[in-house]
Amino acid sequence: MADWVHASPEGIYVAPADLWIDPSTPKPFAAITHGHADHARGGHGRVLATPETLDIMDLRYGASPATPMPYGAAIEQGGVAIGFHPAGHILGSAQISLTYRGERVVVTGDYKRRPDPTCALFTPVPCDILITEATFALPVFTHPPIEGEIARLLRAQAQFPGRAIIVGAYALGKAQRLIMELRRVGYVAPIYLHGAMEKMCELYERHGVALGALLPAAGNAGEKLAGQIIIAPPSALHDRWSRRFADPLLAVASGWMRIRQRARQKNIDLPLVISDHADWNELTQTITQLRPAETWITHGRTDALIRWCEMNQLRARALHLVGRDEEDAA
């Protein structure tokens, strides 16, 4: 099936359009699902992506020749109709549909199915071949409702009024979602940001995501931020950066926090199970719903999802793409 789409370790190649999807090395013509660094890289010739993703890429790599593809838009290249559809992962994240001679392939990129105030809701796109991610493709991964996790964060804040709460969250996507979920439950106090978060938050604001009062954490050493919430990249938690605050309480927001041993290795006080990826139930729900003739799996825990497809009499195979590093972004 679909002998016009090839998987190589560098990415997915669409031969009739001479197009690469999320390639890991510079290519003349590339379609990008979303702005995370393991999917979007600089140096391509011409780029197809949503306006939001292009904006994120401009911020990171500088401007390059591009065709903005809003959700619902499609263009044709070499007989392939290329369309963009919401993936619900982060601002601007898209699934890419490719239709050629009556056969349709959908590349999900990273996706999740639950509502997220910072991006458009995932829409299932019927297809013959589904090329899916599998970051959390093990039945032990079921992400709890985010409301409960936000409540745990606020409870910790109330319980330890003398400690600054530093939440480790990926700078693109996770941080802004966390802020919006706090706002949604009526948290109006300023939220403090690590310097690495600031530009991305401004970008979200420009795209209409109203994040409320944000202040830089820098310059507030000692006990000044006791009782406040600070958002920082996970790597800053055990860095000199966090030592400036007196007795900080360390939290991490990530789907990996579901596993106790993983959370313990992070050496933190409060693991928050918040993920921007589909969990096991969402991954299998999507395949059940679309019932594609074949499922190809790009990255993550491919074995388990293939096993599940086998059990449900569905054809599936792993693509083994390289350089997909989902650890911190998840």
């Binding site: 093990l138 032990v140 596993i259 041993q261 993983r262 959370a263 096993r307 599940w308």
Partner: protein, 528 residues
């Protein structure tokens, strides 16, 4: 069960010792009897349920979840109990109401092999994911949440404002759920009367000696024998033999128990007869640790075993002379009491570890060097004025081991660790070369490296895997590890015919090609 599950969960993520103590103390004060007693037993590793094996849990889970998905999940999570707790399909809303910890403990204790699966299944359906985790950890007796038994006892002491030494002293005379202990702590009750019980007293332990001893004259020196440290306690007609971990090992050494006809509590080294270590000029001969090992962990002992490896005890110290507690006396006063006490014991099964006659440090150094030939592990240094106190107190007792032996070995297999290390390949099997150029495993080590080295080794294993069998990976035979070990002995258990004592990774030798690692013959020559 909810409160206990919440305690475990909180303990897992709490980093500071003081916060852990507060959590434990708060729980022990708030929880009802006998729940808190069972919780204390679980935290100190004092609970086990014979009919609940992890294979039973896996069997129950395999009824609900595809075994292959279960295995993949287990491999990723690194812990069976946590895998099952997370993967168990929830039955809509968890049942309302709590199940008491005592009900769970009593049920688990009464399980048989036949009714275990159905009962476990019913509980798993009833609990939420947190309770399932606590329940499965409790049921399989693998409740490691980063706290030691000592910390749990300190939590008890903190909860009721008593001293932890007093708790330690009573601890081994009482059994779960420790009703007498809580009565004593909580209500300021009188200490339970223990006069009729033979029970374990905490051992006095030694620090390793680094460098030299500044005031040699204040210390007495003894040989450090390579057996297992034991305590013999007798009250009335009850004689019990305890290991350092307070485990009752009387049944494994019936001849020692039968021969002990003194009244009191003594401390010594359990050895078997043989001529592997020591010698008449060094206070008597004894068999190797390997020979002793065959007698450990046996429920019953055959007549042949009693004849081929007869056990005896070389006494180090005395804690009780009859009913009299002599622990507060200085070593110099206890020693003559020990010698008098030992004089009436049958010499076939008991002797006293001699004090080494070395008038100064230099002569002790010389004697210790000479003792290498006699396979003696090292020297103990005991402060002459020191009382017998529990644990390791700086400055009182030192162990001065011989420098370890080392060999350059080639990494062959790696296995995932457990607990904190479950996501790392942290158990390493290494080998040395035979004369015809084959590698044979000579030992297995899971310590000695730093955290950074562990990460490096884990990466190496993942990047150089040749094949996988479950949690084990076979790696390319290219990495040389310098391995340190205390001794090496011949063994029929391993293909190489060698067994290392306490091997650990000393250095990663990326500078050395695998072909230049040591040969089996070189190691064989180290057998003393």
């Amino acid at each position: 069960m909810k409160a206990f599950a919440a305690l475990l969960d909180a303990l897992i993520y709490t980093r500071s010792r003081n916060d852990k103590l507060t959590l434990i103390a708060d729980y022990l004060r708030a929880a009802p009897d006998p729940d808190r007693g069972w919780a204390l037993a679980a935290l100190t590793g004092g609970l086990s349920f014979a009919s609940v094996k992890s294979s039973v849990i896996r069997g129950v889970a395999a009824q609900r979840v595809d075994p292959e998905l279960l295995a993949l999940s287990r491999d990723y999570v690194g812990d069976s109990a946590e895998t099952v707790a997370l993967i168990w399909p929830t039955q809509g809303e968890a049942a309302a109401g709590d199940v008491s910890l005592s009900e769970v403990v009593n049920t688990l204790a009464a399980l048989t092999r036949t009714n275990a699966p159905a009962t476990i299944e019913a509980y798993l359906d009833r609990f939420d994911a947190n309770e399932r985790y606590a329940f499965l950890k409790l049921a399989t007796g693998a409740l490691r949440v980063g706290i030691s038994a000592r910390l749990a006892k300190t939590g008890f002491a903190q909860a009721f404002g008593v001293s932890v030494d007093a708790v330690e002293e009573l601890w081994h005379a009482l059994t779960p759920p420790y009703a007498e202990l809580f009565a004593w702590g909580q209500h300021g009750g009188t200490r339970p009367d223990l006069a009729t019980r033979a029970y374990f007293r905490p051992f006095m332990l030694a620090h390793p000696l680094e460098g030299t001893l500044p005031d040699y004259d204040a210390y007495a020196a003894e040989w450090k024998w390579d057996g297992i440290r034991i305590q013999i306690a007798r009250t009335g007609n009850e004689v019990r033999l305890f290991s350092r971990g307070a485990e009752d090992i009387s049944h494994s050494f019936p001849e020692v128990v039968a021969a002990f006809d003194g009244h009191g509590v003594v401390d010594g080294e359990l050895l078997v007869r043989g001529d592997d270590q020591g010698g008449d000029h060094l206070g008597g001969e004894a068999g190797s640790f390997n020979a002793l090992q065959q007698r450990l962990g046996r429920k019953t002992v055959s007549k042949a075993m009693l004849e081929s490896a007869p056990a005896f005890v070389r006494l180090y110290d005395i804690l009780f002379d009859g009913a009299q507690d002599v622990r507060a006396l200085p070593w110099s006063a206890r020693r003559p009491i020990l010698e008098r006490f030992a004089a009436i014991l049958p010499p076939s099964h008991f002797d006293v570890s001699p004090v080494i006659a070395a008038p100064d440090w230099a002569s002790l150094v010389a004697l210790r060097e000479a003792a290498r030939a006699a396979s003696i592990e090292g020297v103990m240094l005991k402060r002459r004025d020191s009382p017998y106190v529990a644990g390791r107190v700086t400055g009182l007792w030192y162990k001065w081991k011989r420098d370890p032996l080392t060999a350059d070995c080639v990494l062959m297999y790696a296995q995932r660790g457990s607990g904190k290390r479950s996501s790392f390949y942290s158990d390493y099997t290494f080998g040395c070369w035979t004369e015809d150029g084959a590698l044979l495993p000579v030992g297995k080590a899971y310590s000695g490296f730093t955290d950074t080295e562990l990460k490096w080794l884990d990466n190496f294993v993942r990047a150089h895997t040749l094949s996988r069998f479950g949690p084990v990976r076979e790696v390319e035979k290219s990495l040389v590890l310098e391995v340190a070990f205390d001794a090496i002995q011949s063994s029929t258990r391993h293909k190489s015919g060698l067994a290392m004592r306490f091997p650990r990774i000393k250095r990663i030798r990326t500078d050395k090609p695998a072909a230049e690692a040591d040969r089996i013959a070189t190691l064989r020559a180290m057998i003393a």
